[in-house]
């Protein structure tokens, strides 16, 4: 029998429309016809379900690995198919029957209907995340509905129609079809041809006025033709090519970890009508920053589970993006785990600097931090950063032959070595420290009220998540809370730790860089140093920075934000608007990241080679247009003062991301030269 095959979707639909004009009924196969899967092998969707069941079992104290769960599922399904084959022509299985049997075998009497529904809901959610409706078919379905045709979906699968309807509803075309028929409900399948008489009888159809469309030459071609139904079979070359790409990436990932991140990205790609035109910044947010932030928050979740962390605090302002990404992705990646609580904490270096001095005074290291940025030079800058009033310090400064204007930074004209010696003596002066403590105590008291409100002291272990770089926020933060007996252990997790100054690591307070850490030599990841501001600006929350914590007259506290109506505030708003598509791309990538990562079962260490490639390729060897499109226009840093550096120190090394488009385009071997300098700097660190 000649089976009419079509090798492209438009060709099939053209022929289908011709035939449809002469028939009353059109039936469609569901999988690989109306719906396509992002992954090449549908069985791979079962693996995250096995991991989910394994996690639930471990939580109940049962030792079931995902592999053991999958083996049990396969063996029960196989037996069910054999038993069905003894009574029917088709060797079908029914999901609720074999899944309930499997759950009873693992969880005994704890497995009830509600428990089964939880597992089934997760399996449906995983399937939904991998299924995409074929746009051109849906357009045709709409036409068929308008023409008053009876449209049915017929599928040979282990899932009953009630589940298939959930897929179709999620895909948005349930209202376009009369009904959905599954072989799992009757064990009469298209494969044997028994499904067609059943459907004919149930819906009172005439085979002569009936067209069936599917992808299987046997079930969707030969069998309907034998029953007198017209049939069209789709052999879509384009779909085979797409599946070939993802199949190869998944298979290569086994032996070459480099491809794991690429496989993740391929699974995250939008298909069919999802793949619409986007702004360049959106594309970079979705494809470059999104997977990196996804791997970062996934890694935080894994570390939190390992360290038994009760609550994860995302520190402002970059933590806002991390928290949003977490909420959209982490519960989907770890559905069976008890995840820590999360909270967004309003902090900033400027707000915490003052509060950190309330009990221990101003330490030498904290004072030295002030003079790291080249724009700070004197005691006025110390006062600005630590929220101090400089006038009461005049007698203390005079005692050490200093004034508020004495230059204390070697980068500025007028600097003398003895000024720093005198400044160090001032820091050791008890009267000076008493004044520091007196002035900073209200800010610390307000901070304590805020932290109590945020439930900070309710857990013995907390994670503090920030973008980086030196860990100054956590340094000040811990100094501000360490006087309390109930201070939790603070596990700092930074996107990148550059560690410009040594962090005072203790058992109760430490930091680690997740994507990059200077203490873990990772040369490729160090490319992040090329454009740190890009990450800050891309992740920044849409609210002004925090200037401090204030006590109110009624005994409460208030968060004091920086004004946003001055030039800097306006520049920041403008930058936010410029980066809006970039941020949107990042957020839109969260759910696809979660689905892809849950399916692949990989974590940061698996994605790291690809992330390293992205960092080097995008930051150290970017195209000129990429730099021009992505680089930020304005970057606010209140910590950095406005004083001019001495001429001798003013020549900063070339930064690739700050160069003109002319240099970027025409300077010979520019990227290589800067890369070699970067390499030398890292090796000399």
């Amino acid at each position: 029998m000649n089976i009419p095959k079509y090798y492209s979707l438009p060709d099939l639909i053209r022929k289908g429309k011709e035939i449809a004009a002469t028939v009353d009924t059109v039936t469609f196969d569901l999988f690989d016809t109306l719906l396509i899967r992002r992954i090449h092998d549908p069985d791979l969707v079962k693996l995250p379900v096995a991991r989910f069941i394994s996690d639930l079992a471990v939580e109940k104290g049962l030792n079931w690995t995902p592999e053991k769960v999958q083996d049990l599922r396969d063996s029960i399904e196989k037996r069910h198919r054999q038993e069905t084959g003894e009574k029917f022509d088709d060797h079908e299985a029914c999901y609720p029957l074999y899944m309930q049997e499997m759950l009873s075998a693992i969880f005994a009497e704890e497995s009830d209907d509600a428990f089964f529904d939880r597992v089934a809901d997760y399996e449906v959610a995983m399937e939904n995340s991998m299924l995409v409706p074929r746009g051109e078919f849906i357009d045709w379905l709409k036409e068929l509905q308008q023409q008053g045709k009876k449209v049915l979906i017929v599928s040979d699968i282990y899932l009953p129609a009630i589940y298939l309807k959930r897929f179709v509803e999620h895909a948005g075309f349930l209202d376009l079809v009369l009904d959905v028929v599954s072989s799992a409900d009757t064990f009469l399948a298209k494969a044997s041809g028994k499904a067609f008489p059943l459907i004919q009888e149930k819906y009172d159809l005439d085979p002569k006025s009936w067209l069936h469309v599917g992808d299987n030459p046997h079930s969707d071609g030969l069998r309907p033709l034998e029953f007198g139904i017209q049939a069209l079979v789709l052999h879509d070359a384009s779909e085979k090519r797409r599946k070939s790409v993802i199949r190869r990436l998944v298979n290569y990932s086994d032996g070459r970890p480099f491809w794991r991140g690429r496989a993740l990205q391929q699974l995250m790609q939008p298909l069919e009508y999802e793949n619409v035109e986007r702004d360049t910044l959106y594309i970079e947010g979705y494809s470059f920053l999104g997977p990196m932030i996804g791997a970062f928050v996934q890694s935080i979740a894994e570390r939190s589970l390992e360290l038994n962390i009760g609550k994860v605090f995302f520190l402002s302002r970059e933590g806002w993006t991390f928290k949003k990404y977490w909420e959209q992705s982490v519960p989907r990646i770890f559905p069976g785990k008890r995840l820590p609580e999360t909270e967004y904490l309003y902090v900033s270096r400027m707000a915490l600097a003052g509060a950190s001095c309330a009990y221990k005074g101003l330490s030498q290291t904290s004072a030295d931090i002030v003079f790291l940025p080249s724009g700070n030079s004197d005691f006025h800058d110390v006062c600005r950063i630590f929220s101090l009033d400089h006038e009461p310090f005049a007698p203390h400064l005079a005692r050490h032959q200093l004034t508020a204007e004495t230059v204390l930074s070697h980068l500025h004209d007028g600097y003398k070595q003895e000024n720093r010696v005198r400044f160090s003596e001032l820091i050791e002066d008890d009267a000076f420290q008493e004044e520091v403590k007196r002035q900073t105590r209200p800010a610390n008291d307000a901070l304590q009220l805020y932290l109590e409100d945020a439930g900070f002291y309710d857990h013995p272990d907390v994670a503090l998540v920030d973008i980086g770089w030196l860990g100054t926020i956590q340094r000040f933060f811990y100094e501000a809370i360490s006087h309390r007996q109930d201070a939790p252990r603070c596990h700092g997790m930074l996107f990148a730790a550059t560690r410009g100054i040594p962090f005072p690591t203790t058992v109760d307070n430490h930091i680690e860089g997740v994507i990059y850490d200077k203490h873990r030599f990772d040369f490729a990841a160090s490319s992040i140093l090329y454009a740190r501001d890009l990450f800050e600006e891309a992740c920044r929350a849409p609210h002004p920075t925090l200037n401090g914590y204030g006590l109110k007259d009624d005994g409460g506290y208030e968060l004091i934000f920086r004004q946003s109506d001055d030039d800097i505030g306006r520049a920041e708003k403008e930058q936010d608007e410029n980066y809006a598509p970039l941020q949107q791309g990042v957020f839109d990538s969260a759910k696809p990241y979660a689905a892809a990562s849950a399916l692949l079962g990989y974590s940061l260490s698996d994605y790291k080679p690809w992330i390293n490639y992205l960092l080097v390729s995008k930051l150290a060897f970017p195209k000129t247009n990429e730099i021009l499109d992505i680089r930020h226009k304005a970057h606010l840093d209140d910590f950095h003062g406005a004083k001019k550096v001495a001429k001798v120190h003013s020549k900063a090394p070339k930064n690739l991301w700050n160069l003109s488009s002319f240099s970027l385009r025409f300077s010979p071997l520019l990227r290589l030269r800067i890369f070699f300098r970067h390499m030398k700097e890292r090796l000399n660190e």
């Binding site: 090519r241 190869r248 990841a525």
Partner: protein, 80 residues
């Protein structure tokens, strides 16, 4: 400029395969960092072929699937 996230060849617009390939070749000359063996020349060639020349290849494969299957069986017979 507006673009689609995925190209017609199912490649990532942000990190296309030719860029991965070029980077791989550069990393063979200059130390770029830890890529855990990197992509591998065979994988890169096959993926590049699928992305950039996949249309005629799959046009042929889908139309001559039974003949191709026969060829595969013959190859397997000789390789075993």
């Amino acid at each position: 400029m507006a673009k689609k996230l995925m190209s017609k060849g199912f490649d990532s617009v942000s990190s296309p395969m030719h860029r991965v390939f070029r980077h791989y070749l550069l990393s063979r000359i200059i130390p770029m960092g830890a890529y855990q063996q990197g992509g591998g020349i065979k994988c890169l060639l096959i993926l590049s072929a699928t992305h950039y020349f996949g249309r005629p290849i799959f046009w042929f494969i889908t139309r001559f699937e039974p003949q191709m299957a026969r060829l595969y069986r013959i190859r397997e017979k000789f390789s075993s």
